[in-house]
């Protein structure tokens, strides 16, 4: 009866901003509420279609913005001639793209509800990580091309031109400091470095990106040929930066504080679910107004002396109740250990709900495929999804299985099936989630919706197997907590 939490700790994140939150579903405490674990499938709220945007729409908007940026460059560039002209022209175009790219990267992480609900925080974080590498590269390509191009145009050395740029050009020195900050943040986010850095360290160093963007802002208008004599361009560019800044302040600060004031989140109790696994019950008022769904997660900030300064994403590990939410966390880091010592009454700031890993309401049968700690959000969905449900639960050892009692009880009550696939690959003699095995565990697999949650490697392998078993891509829903 345990569930697991998303991994708080450093271990494998590729590195974007949302530490992979793995969301654990919350269920009302068994004893406290009159309802106990939900035995009967309950009708799922029809999915709110409004307020979600699809990945295609978002990518189209980002692309259109990039085209507009290139058009701005085109408009401000008379022509390109000679080596110096080519280098400078490329440097200017990349500089504009970088100035646009940082805004997009920040906007992706602004926790905008339509993005989080429509695309999912884990997918956004993957985009942010990929885009971040790209933008940092573009920033530096811009800097180097400009230095080189100006040096060629002025017939000076690259070293001399670097000194000239830093000392004579307005605000270039500040922008250079910003560029180094961005580079530093990019480096610690790379996979290899990421493993050695604590989550909190990584998170707080990431905040320097705001400083970097602020430092680099003014050199765009002071030195950029596209802006110096174009008031309209300066206006719209500023408006873009300002809009994203307002969204950040609103959704990352104002909204959580407002929710705290309205719902008064606080710890009700902590329960040891098994070795190294704890559930935390969080109470509050009017929680139904949150419209949280099984499969979603919140970012939690426990207001104790040692924990108030960082927030962590944990999935609800049971269907959200009217006055209580549950998260379940596996003991993987300092933070999750500290959770076990939480006292009832501790106040909590909760941001959310986040995540697009929710029931689609298609009315078809559903297969839930959990890997290890990935059971938590699926535990909540298992109790609440309508229609026939099959749960396949992959764990590498019996100790790693959490929530077994709850899962069995739910299965018995609703006539659903749970398959435990436990043991190492060697012990099981082959691929435990091969297309053949999957088809035999879940007959009619290719006609059903499949929800996969687990570590990144497991979800990728499982999706490959599901595709091979004939499940269409659009029927596969993935939540990966390591992103």
């Amino acid at each position: 009866m345990t569930s697991v939490a998303r991994r708080p700790a450093p271990a494998r994140h590729a590195g974007a901003e949302a530490y992979p939150g793995h969301r654990q579903p919350a269920v009302p405490p068994r004893s406290g509420s009159s309802r106990g674990p939900r035995a009967r499938p309950r009708a799922v709220r029809p999915q709110k279609e409004g307020g979600r945007v699809s990945a295609r729409v978002v990518l189209s908007v980002i692309t259109l913005g990039a085209i507009a940026v290139i058009a701005l460059w085109w408009h401000s560039t008379p022509d390109v001639s000679g080596l110096g002209g080519w280098l400078t022209g490329a440097g200017e175009a990349l500089g504009l793209l970088a100035g646009y790219g940082v805004v997009v990267l920040v906007a992706l992480m602004a926790r905008l509800p339509p993005l989080d609900r429509g695309i999912g925080a884990d997918q956004l974080a993957r985009w942010h990580a990929m885009g971040g590498r790209y933008v940092v590269s573009v920033v530096w390509a811009h800097a180097l091309l400009i230095v080189w191009g100006y040096a060629v145009q002025a017939h000076t050395s690259v070293t001399g031109e670097t000194a000239t740029l830093l000392t004579q050009y307005p605000d270039v020195l500040m922008a250079t400091v910003g560029g180094f900050l961005l580079l530093g943040v990019g480096l610690i986010s790379m996979r290899a470095a990421r493993r050695r850095v604590r989550y909190e360290t990584w998170y707080y160093l990431h905040l320097y990106t705001y400083l970097a963007i602020a430092l680099a802002f003014s050199h765009q208008f002071a030195d950029g040929a596209a802006f110096v004599s174009n008031l309209a361009a300066r206006f719209w560019w500023s408006a873009m930066y300002l809009t994203v800044a307002v969204l950040i302040v609103w959704y990352r600060f104002a909204v959580p504080l407002r929710a705290f004031a309205r719902h008064s989140f606080h710890v009700i109790g902590v329960r040891q679910e098994g070795p190294g696994v704890v559930s935390v019950y969080i109470g509050g008022s009017r929680l139904d107004e949150l419209d949280a769904e099984p499969g979603q997660f919140f970012r939690w900030r426990f207001l104790t002396r040692s924990m108030w300064w960082s927030s962590h994403p944990y999935s609800l590990s049971a269907a959200p109740g009217k006055d209580v939410l549950r998260i379940t966390v596996k003991d993987l880091g300092d933070h999750s250990q500290a959770l076990a010592r939480l006292r009832p009454g501790t106040r909590v700031l909760a941001e959310g709900p986040y995540g697009a890993f929710t029931a689609t309401g298609s009315g078809r049968g559903v297969v839930l495929l959990a890997g290890g700690v990935g059971i938590t959000p699926l535990r909540a969905m298992f109790a609440t999804l309508p229609g026939p449900v099959t749960l396949i639960y992959r764990a590498s050892s019996p100790q790693d299985v959490v929530f077994a009692d709850e899962l069995d009880a739910i299965a018995a009550a609703r006539g659903a099936v749970v398959h435990y696939v436990i043991g190492s690959r060697a012990e099981l003699g082959g691929d435990p989630l091969s297309p053949r095995v999957l088809r035999s565990l879940a007959p009619g697999l290719d006609q059903q919706d499949v929800y996969v949650c687990g570590p990144d490697g497991m979800t990728s392998a499982a999706i490959t197997a599901l595709r091979a078993a004939g499940v269409p891509k659009r029927s596969i829903h993935r939540e990966s907590f390591e992103f």
Binding site: T77, D79, G85, L94, V152, Q153
Partner: protein, 178 residues
Amino acid sequence: MRRVILTIVGTIAGLVALLSFKSHLPTVPSASVSNTGGSTSTGGSSTAGSSSTAGTSGTGGSPAPSSSAATVPGEFPMGSLAGKLPAGETAVTGHVATTVYGPVQIQLIMRNSKIVKVAVLQQPMNTANDIQIGEFAFPKLIGETLTAQTAKIDAVSGASYTSAGYIQSLQSALDNRA
């Protein structure tokens, strides 16, 4: 890894395509000369010839470009010299030549029908890079002018628009010399 390579290659290809479109445009820079500029202001004082006191008239036509520009570092005279000429020299101011980067206007200092100095009254100054290009280009252009004594001089590579504006303004000054 494949995606990384594709992204890099795609970005470079996109940039090259974009820039080559721009470089296929007519590459001869143009500068238009506006008659409203400083054309009428031949230096050397209203008393034509070349007599003693040099032209106070140089200030006449051109829109006071000099004073602020004087703070910009450069190896060439900036701003009108008309007010402080020794005897025997006259100032002749050229038209304002408009380039895509900004206006260019020069002033010739003549002695015995020879160009002895060239001052820059206006130059593109929108960005620090414009100024840096000017610092590099104008000394060369002025050197060529003093040697050639005509407007038939070569443009400076990397500063083709500025060169075109300079040559236009120079030509108009020479035309006004009479």
